[in-house]
């Protein structure tokens, strides 16, 4: 299994993976572990300062690459970036009306569950949200890998970003309930 380390390579190339949104997670993990086994600072601890510094840079980049490909939203954003498409998450706020209304409803539901300390309800919301995220990710795969319609994919990323924020709110609601 040829792995190679090159700071010029993109993250897919670094792990020897095809530049697709659909990804074999097991294969990514395997490649990640194989590369870290070569470059991780633990393998260089007994060597010189220069070698240790180099190892830290290689391992840092390997971790960054893994995180980026491992998380679907980041992977999509990164892949679109490679195709020259900016996902405009900060600037483009023109979301479809029905999507925005849906978001409001979600938020209210989470807030209500938080206020009433309803863990069961919050868990239900979390499960539903996970399902939504899954659907959007499948759509992204079609848009990016099959149809190459990157503008539509960028909107998908923006939507997923909303859902991510929602997931964070659910986590923070769980956290306040723990206290």
């Amino acid at each position: 299994m040829p792995v190679s380390f090159n700071f010029q390579q993109n993250f897919f190339q670094l792990f020897g993976l095809p530049e697709h949104f659909r990804l074999d997670n097991a294969q990514l993990d395997q490649q990640y572990h194989a590369l870290q086994t070569q470059v991780h600072p633990d393998k260089f601890a007994h060597l010189s300062e220069a070698e240790r510094r180099m190892s830290m840079q290689m391992a840092t980049r390997t971790n960054e690459a893994y995180q980026t490909l491992h998380e679907p939203v980041r992977r999509a954003r990164y892949l679109l970036g490679l195709r020259g498409v900016d996902t405009q998450e900060e600037t483009n706020t023109a979301m479809p009306m029905d999507f925005l209304i849906e978001q409001m409803e979600w938020r209210e539901a989470v807030e209500e569950a938080r206020q009433s300390g309803d863990v069961v309800e919050l868990e239900k919301l979390e499960t539903r949200l996970r399902h939504e995220v899954q659907l959007l990710q499948e759509l992204l795969a079609v848009k990016i890998d099959d149809e190459h319609s990157y503008a539509a994919a960028a909107e998908g990323v923006r939507k997923l970003k909303f859902l991510e924020k929602l997931a964070e709110e659910i986590v923070s609601a769980f956290d306040t309930m723990d206290n």
Partner: protein, 623 residues
Amino acid sequence: MALLQISEPGLSAAPHQHRLAVGIDLGTTNSLVATVRNGISVVLNDAEGRALLPSVVRYLADGNVQVGESAQAMQSEDPINTIISAKRFMGRGLSDIRDTLGVPYRFVDAPGMLQLRTVAGVKSPVEVSAEILKVLRARAEEALAGELVGAVITVPAYFDDAQRQATKDAARLAGLNVLRLLNEPTAAAIAYGLDNASEGVYAVYDLGGGTFDISILKLSRGVFEVLATNGNSALGGDDFDQRIYCWLLEKNNLSALNAQDTRLLLTRARASKEDLTKHAETSLTALLSGGETINSMLTRQDFHVMSQNLVANTLQPVRRALRDAGLKVEDIKGVVMVGGSTRMPQVQRAVAEFFRQTPLTNLDPDKVVALGAAIQANVLAGNRSADDWLLLDVIPLSLGIETMGGLTEKIIPRNSTIPTARAQEFTTYKDGQTAMSIHVVQGERELVSDCRSLAKFDLRGIPPMVAGAARIRITFQVDADGLLNVSALETGSGVEAHITVKPSYGLSDTEITRMLQDSNQHAQDDMLARALREQQVDAEQLIEAVENALVQDGAELLNQAGQTRIRASMDGLRAALQTADHQAIKRAIAALNDTTVTFAQARMDKSVSHALGGRKITDLEGV
């Protein structure tokens, strides 16, 4: 030091030669040292056959220092000069210590970290910890009959940057070369996992004397991957003692005890707590300095009631860690119990109920951390290359900087796998602004005032521009010890300003030198002689390594000027060697290291590309 003697990454330059390395569990209550002997990790005992060294240091008026059992025996008699649980004060200011009730010390509030006034002068928690480490180092060097190449020191996974930095400083002060700071639950997982050849997701629940950690790890063939960690660096067995102590005060209508009586009752409280692990009830007796006698009965039932919220407090971080890992209770294949406080039946019951399974206790919870640390130290020292395993750990708390309005902007989120780096761009908010204050914080809260302040520094010399035009790039780099370095760079106009800071809780080299000078002259002479010898050995090895490297790859990887530069730098080091001044040699070594960085990287590329199957890799410009 084996600079440039690379064959393949991960292989020792001299594989035949066993390099002495140890793992040290520097605990709040007890500390241990372990090493790998003939392939097996073993705890090293003292001359009396004791493995655990109580983390107690007593300062005497004549300048002598007692460490361990002898100090512990004096804790009620001489409470002010006998420091226990110093780990609780590492990297902490006076305002961080919530509860000074029952802590008899004379605190001195110093910038960065509190200090303690003793008969032998003011001591920082770093110095106290260094005394413990020195004893363990001596124990190891005696047992192994040689000098240590280095040590792995364990820290609670939930230790923040200031606490980690303080621990590393203590080790340096004790004359140890720190191969790595290793998280305690991770160390336990190594000892446990390698012992049982386990696969799957495990939780390590570590409740010691002063700290609580929970880590969720995925063990797969040859890889230990920490998925999430959480905890409380101020929760442990000490707090259970406190509950009993408060109960005693109340029951006997006592108030405002002197330091001696306080320490006496806390010691009794701890003994009865431990007694209740085996027995349904226990009696507490004590003779106070005023002549009063205390005689109280405590039942296990009552103790469980008074401590139940402490137990419950450990489950909150457990839930958070699971959530961060994206896992449910049923995903956890086993729960490893670490730390003396997990012997308490109510803790075992609560953990079993939460995880719906009986926790694993087949390794001694007192020793498992040190055993794991020794295994890691052995690898880091370069003693193993075959059947290698990989350890991927995380940072426990998010790192960020202060932005307008006292808000935290997270730059590296918690549970990021280390080493890691993130850069973020900021800009000026006033026309003509030429300086920017950068405040580095750690924690999960929105408000800077609720997070831990790690460092403050100014970036100066920004060329005057209109507001918002400057591009200030702030880079956070966390190394494999979990320690942070921050740099800021103004890139907008091509003019660069650059600064690298160490968090303010860390001691500077001058402070370390000052502390070293405080220790007595004899020890200092030893140290200097040792430092000189080390530098001489390093220098000779380095010269030899560079010579060899030049012979092997000089012509291929360097031009004439490059070779000349390295030769000149090497001559500088040879000259320094004649001076018998270890500082001068150290500087010359650093200079030669600097001159050879590019060469070393080129050689590393060559060797990595060889190891990776012969492909051409790194363009040096991109590094």
